[in-house]
């Protein structure tokens, strides 16, 4: 990549990241991903979680700009469980071009059938970005095309794009699905008392004296509350308790 191309490619990446901070729904993300896809000669894309054996993929698909008809076919035939691209994504956290990664490997008959059908929808090759969390596969972002011709730098940019697209999508879905539930962990009355006295600046020993409990018990209640509210220390716990209305 020459300098000018590198600058242009960098701008595509930066523009996308900026766009993600403002993307207010899945359609906005689809629009922005479409622009990036076209820039790199890619035709379609999707973001999906991975179903457990025996489950269907449709509940796990977070965002789809897959060719019409192919998605229905893929779900109806339960292709997710024989798709070599999915298998590769589970066993490795490296992003890969299908033809480069799977090209030399033997393909089972069912997988060959899947790939032939995909090519009828002009998805002949693709670039997939597995997004792993320690110990688990969070999601796959896949781009499909008739032909893939990506420099290593372009692959890197698409990898970054995939990360930010998925991250924004996840945040939007979490927002939609129940901020209320997430915002109100159940804090027991004992725990609430302890938090209130913390906010008054009392030590654990003093709180124990006030409430007629041992210092150790107070400490455990405090740690339980911190755990439930995802706080790592006293100050954060108090701030968070005020924020969600446990104390004033």
């Amino acid at each position: 990549m020459n300098t000018h191309d590198r600058q242009q490619a960098a701008n595509v990446m930066f523009d996308f990241i900026t766009a993600m901070t403002a993307a207010s729904d899945a359609n906005a993300i689809i629009n922005d991903l479409s622009k990036v896809s076209k820039t790199f000669g890619l035709d379609c894309f999707a973001i999906s979680g991975i179903p457990l054996p025996g489950e269907k993929i449709d509940r796990y698909v977070l965002l789809s700009a897959w060719p019409e008809g192919w998605f229905e076919r893929y779900v109806a035939e339960n292709y997710v469980h024989i798709d070599p691209v999915i298998y590769q994504s589970k066993i490795s956290d490296g992003a890969f071009v299908w033809s480069e990664e799977l090209g030399g490997k033997p393909i089972r008959r069912e997988a060959r059938k899947l790939m032939n059908e995909a090519s009828e929808f002009r998805m002949i090759d693709g670039y997939s970005v597995p997004l792993h969390m320690p110990g688990a596969l969070q999601a796959i972002v896949t781009f499909g095309a008739e032909k893939i011709d990506l420099s290593t730098e372009a692959k890197g940019i698409l990898h970054i794009v995939a990360i930010y697209a998925h991250n924004r999508l996840k945040a939007l879905l979490e927002q939609q699905s129940g901020v209320c539930r997430k915002d109100a962990p159940y804090i027991t009355p004992h725990e609430r008392d302890v938090i209130r006295w913390c906010a008054e600046g009392k030590t654990n020993w003093e709180i124990g004296q006030i409430l007629g409990r041992s210092e150790k018990t107070v400490q455990h209640e405090l740690h339980n509350a911190q755990r439930k509210m995802n706080c790592v220390n006293r100050a954060q716990l108090i701030a968070e308790a005020i924020r969600i209305g446990i104390i004033r």
Partner: protein, 228 residues
């Protein structure tokens, strides 16, 4: 678990030799970074100065993980070794912005019931919050970008990824937060501080005494207490 040494206090601690050998074993022998090879198998460089921050994950004297932080207001890797990675762009350099370098953990090692690599990551986040380090500059593979983003760090790429020495590398600006630390705790199964600070530890940013951001130590036990 995760010990902090600044500059020559690493030598004073007795851990220095083990650290140089650990770095050589992983970066030269395991990852194949030939440029770092040393005939005596001790990997150290010109940035291991009195200001270098060494975070050493050890258990019973055996090193299981390591990270080095270098202040960006002094020479560091991105400024002095491979500035071309920035593609001509600028990045913030300040006394509370550090470059995160030489990060590695012994694969499949565990301590206190937690994977070593998870403790290392959690510990780096906790150290930043404890020391008031506002951001880390890292030159890394896109995979680590996902690891940080998924753990609620605020991450911004500083330049487009490029191929350096045969591998993809992207410079990023990564900001930790209490929420990010809590995310690490949840994901790793950590329930307290993983830092082990000497009594006289000084904050590398302010020079004052360093105290941990998390006020109780990780115990590796999950205790549910019910009281009458």
């Amino acid at each position: 678990m995760l010990r902090y040494f600044k500059g020559s206090s690493l030598q004073a601690s007795g851990f220095a030799e083990r650290v140089w050998q650990f770095r050589h074993r992983h970066f030269v022998e395991r990852f194949g970074w030939g440029a770092l090879r040393k005939p005596d198998c001790r990997e150290m460089d010109i940035f291991d100065t009195d200001e270098a921050v060494h975070l050493v994950l050890e258990n019973a004297g055996v090193i299981l993980g390591y990270s080095r932080l270098l202040a960006t207001n002094a020479p560091h890797l991105l400024s002095d070794v491979y500035p071309e990675i920035m593609g001509g762009r600028d990045y913030p350099r300040a006394k509370n912005v550090y470059e995160w370098t030489r990060c590695v953990a012994e694969p499949s090692a565990r301590l206190c019931g937690v994977e070593a690599s998870h403790i290392l990551l959690t510990g780096v986040a906790e150290f930043c919050l404890s020391a008031g380090i506002e951001a880390l500059i890292v030159e890394t593979h896109p995979k680590l970008v996902n690891l940080l983003v998924s753990n609620l760090w605020d991450v911004t790429p500083l330049a487009a990824p490029m191929v350096y020495d045969g591998a993809l590398v992207v410079p990023i600006h990564a900001v930790p937060s209490p929420a990010a630390l809590a995310s690490h705790h949840r994901g790793a199964g950590v329930n307290g501080s993983v830092l082990e600070l000497a009594v006289d530890s000084s904050n590398p940013v302010t020079g004052q005494t360093l105290t941990t951001f998390v006020d109780h130590t990780h115990t590796g036990l999950v205790v549910e207490v019910s009281c009458a």
